[in-house]
Symmetry: C3
Subunit: 350 residues, 3 copies
Amino acid sequence: MARMKTNPGNFFEDFTVGQVIDHATPRTVTEGDRALYGAIYPTRFAVPSSAEFAASVGLADQERGHPVEELVGFHVAFGKTVPDVSLNAVANLGYAECRFHVPVVPGDTLRTRSEVIGLKENSNGRTGVVWVRSTATNQRGEVAIDWARWVMVHKRSTESPAPTTVVPDLAPAVEAADLVVPAGLDFSSYDDVAAGSPHRLGDYEVGERIDHVDGVTLTDAEHMMATRLWQNTAKVHFTTDARPDGRRLVYGGHVISLARALSFNGLANAQLVAAINAGAHVAPAFADDTVHAWSEVLDTATLEAPGVGALRLRLVATRGRDESMTLRSEDGTYADGVLLDLDYWALIPR
Amino acid sequence: MARMKTNPGNFFEDFTVGQVIDHATPRTVTEGDRALYGAIYPTRFAVPSSAEFAASVGLADQERGHPVEELVGFHVAFGKTVPDVSLNAVANLGYAECRFHVPVVPGDTLRTRSEVIGLKENSNGRTGVVWVRSTATNQRGEVAIDWARWVMVHKRSTESPAPTTVVPDLAPAVEAADLVVPAGLDFSSYDDVAAGSPHRLGDYEVGERIDHVDGVTLTDAEHMMATRLWQNTAKVHFTTDARPDGRRLVYGGHVISLARALSFNGLANAQLVAAINAGAHVAPAFADDTVHAWSEVLDTATLEAPGVGALRLRLVATRGRDESMTLRSEDGTYADGVLLDLDYWALIPR
Amino acid sequence: MARMKTNPGNFFEDFTVGQVIDHATPRTVTEGDRALYGAIYPTRFAVPSSAEFAASVGLADQERGHPVEELVGFHVAFGKTVPDVSLNAVANLGYAECRFHVPVVPGDTLRTRSEVIGLKENSNGRTGVVWVRSTATNQRGEVAIDWARWVMVHKRSTESPAPTTVVPDLAPAVEAADLVVPAGLDFSSYDDVAAGSPHRLGDYEVGERIDHVDGVTLTDAEHMMATRLWQNTAKVHFTTDARPDGRRLVYGGHVISLARALSFNGLANAQLVAAINAGAHVAPAFADDTVHAWSEVLDTATLEAPGVGALRLRLVATRGRDESMTLRSEDGTYADGVLLDLDYWALIPR
């Protein structure tokens, strides 16, 4: 009976298409989160760094302060889904259609709801793939972030019958026209000097690759603190007794935030993450790995908001610095050392 | 003369029954403390996590925000007493009659005053036991927390005469009727889904034990950061040159907070710590220890506040996971691996 | 072309006397910074610790809160200069004439501007010394901190001609009469008990040395988190692949803050840093070094503000505890184990 009170997580059999899950627990974002994010990731983007700069581009709210990094909201919202969706996951297979709507500012309380949008049992009969669409809303009921994600989950029993296969139709990327520009955003009087770079939308060419030069060697204390901030409590991140090799697996989102922060050096004006089109955690990361990053410009777009453009970027994190910026090996698999392959849209001044 | 300006701490001879000590330094609790607490401990209790949830149970103050974890206040208040009470302590022997009164919210400034309520020299003539009752008040002079504690302290000289022995009469546990329920607390419209568990007071049976499953492997960086937050500067926690084995001793309160946070998985609705009846730091903890926890239900009570009940819990932290949840060995001593044995009351919806 | 978008830093040839550099990126200081500072450094000074205490000495602003440690402002302001001034530095040679003007409180946004005030090529033709005077202002345009600093920087090419040598005339120390006392500061009703020490200006004698007793063993996680907070992204602090020995060099300012915090034990009433006269990072520090500190009283002064005096202190940080408090070896070089030799003014009640 005691065991029944702890969360065993859901198994493949527990999911049905159309099922809606309200995730515990709502969480209020504060200036403390902003400070910790800046202590754990080498971020310098001017909007989250400076209330004054944020106000100069129309994003500061006198009462409520200025936006935190979009990824703070993403990690908080995502963390809520773990106990219900991926506690028994074998692997996080992908993300799609992630869009950032109303900016998250200190004082906002986020809650997350997920709907199961797809199921497919694997031929081995032991696991299945679950697709969910999750939506994070603030205390005013406004959508802050929504995204689709699919994970491979263990079945409770190989005896259980397979459900009808439903594979959702997910866009390979969010269309530029579908990007949400935060209300009030105005880059027409953008201060390049304060932001740290003169390079705007027109300075980036599709196909261009940028080596972000800087790097960070991971420590267990830092990735655990970051992962706890998001209330993501998956055991593999926190204990040396959860894996045969005795190592603590770094939360994939930690590598995303680290790579995004490193990308400041070369993409300082790619101020706001507007959408995540796709993401693959190619290899696990562990303490003592030194993470570097490079980006490739995949697309550019001009948006309607004053002075606002968008860059579609491939952000690649690697173990050790790869100055050759090689994504693929000759055999078509990922090059050795690639940890993360993320496809996202960022808002940048034209 | 130079040495005279640094704090040598008090020795057994420096204490007299009835003596009152006002501890330095007052400290203002902020949202930064809440965020750091959440980064260092895997806590997910909905009241401190969400201003919105706290308001739904009557605990959010529009101006001043919502309560931080009760243990944040406890550690801050306790830390103040260390330089005066336990800098020369051989051992922390116990706690009793700890009650949480007015909740601590960001912006509150806590100061702590202690009164010596007992003294007993040990037969060896080298040490003695000092009992103090400490009270933490906020900037409005309201009592936030009070508790009794006793420690074994070195004598300055074996020559000093023994004081008259005074052993205070301390209750084995706070009576349910004496628990303080925060003003305005109302669990009658409690949201189980947001809180993360359907299990309320009536679902727990006296004698029931709950294995909290999750664990955390300790790091020096994290326990030092936590301990500094509380301005507890006892050398043994921070330097490798303070102990023969070169290890930094983890502050006992760190294990308490870690175990309490781990207990969310099985006790998610045990929202507020109302009292600490007793506590024993059975064995020291160090970096690389993997801490797990289990709880035993000792008692249950129905309180007058709307929808509010109380669970008296034994919270046991262990080095490594003890699925057998064994507190005692056959010889009556603590089972191997037990780090902490804490007896406390938590408020939970009926 | 990709590389051109990342910051290569400036080389000796890029500096000209009179040149003004506006540094990216402005940064808003918050309560989160205060909490992290207190988690990373064992500070207990009453003014930054307690809004109530700060108000009692005239420094709390109802709307804007109470001052953070002066060194929080210094590190934030200093960090901004690194990408432009010292990314290609061989060595940080010194500081001078650093004065703290308007206190920094949560909500303040700091930006830093530097002017090149001196240049001197070294005889080797490969490096040169650059002197800059930097000024940090808040969002109201008030000067928060200003200081002079000189660094040895690589030349891009040994072929480049040497510039005219200009060596600025910098004061060996800020005169007591030039110290800035924060508006409203009044120590006339100073609470020694709350502050943690009865020792005031008159209790300190010139030449007196104080061993601060306590110590801290460094960890990579903590010094990296601190250094990131200041948005100082110099690679050597963060990666094991930047130095042949694979060690992460601890940011010099980390040792300054650590030593200043340790000095509380003996200098608890030296509440506010008013000026930094000079500073030498004598030896590099690394994780696992145990840092201790001692101070020497260099001068004392009585200022006009009510109850306010000043202590000029030499703050010395050492690897391992040096109870002999030896600064120089017999051969006149620094004694073995000395990490930092800092000369500063602190405000203390008379």
